[in-house]
């Protein structure tokens, strides 16, 4: 088991990365870039859940955040973009 001190540093690092990732997702204005940023944010969240000793939630976040959510968003964006042309 990882010692308490190392676990604390890891958790703080990943928490800071998650906060930065949320800021990046919100500040991205272009649609497709925002979907990419959301994918990276989902992966950071999955690492955070793993470091908080929750492997089940990690699995859920990985499948949803890497497959389902970007696909749904990209399909909606494609539909909306076709309509705008």
């Amino acid at each position: 088991m990882i010692s308490a001190g190392l676990m604390n540093t890891l958790q703080v690092t990943v928490l800071v990365l998650v906060a930065a990732g949320a800021t990046v997702v919100v500040r991205t204005r272009s649609r497709i870039r925002q979907v990419l940023a959301l994918s990276v944010y989902g992966m950071l969240l999955a690492i955070l859940f793993l470091v908080f000793q929750a492997p089940d939630v990690t699995l859920s976040e990985l499948t949803v955040g890497a497959i389902a959510l970007p696909l749904i968003l990209l399909l909606a964006i494609a539909k909306v973009r076709k309509r705008e042309q």
Partner: protein, 114 residues
Amino acid sequence: MGIFPFLVVAWIVVVGLYGIVTSRDLIHQIVCLIVVQSSTYVLLLGVGYVTGGAAPYFWDIPQHTRAVDPVVQALALTDVVVEAAVTALLLSFAVQAQKKFGTLDPSQLVEFKG
């Protein structure tokens, strides 16, 4: 370290709400809503964490080792999957709004009443 995860939760909520308020595009708003919702997962897992605790799976560790709280993990787990489906429903509303009103700008959508 006592309160830092909860500060991160508050930051994510405020940043997500800022994105919703200053957005000019319905799809951008929906993605910011996803970010706000993800803050609740961090809060749930942060509340249930036990220092030095293992994951609550006793397949290969003895049954009475100290483990983190399993109830909040169960809540967060179903939450993550259901959020994706609700986001899909919201996106279909956005697609329909664009078909009916021709625009995805929230400030212009407000003017159509009835």
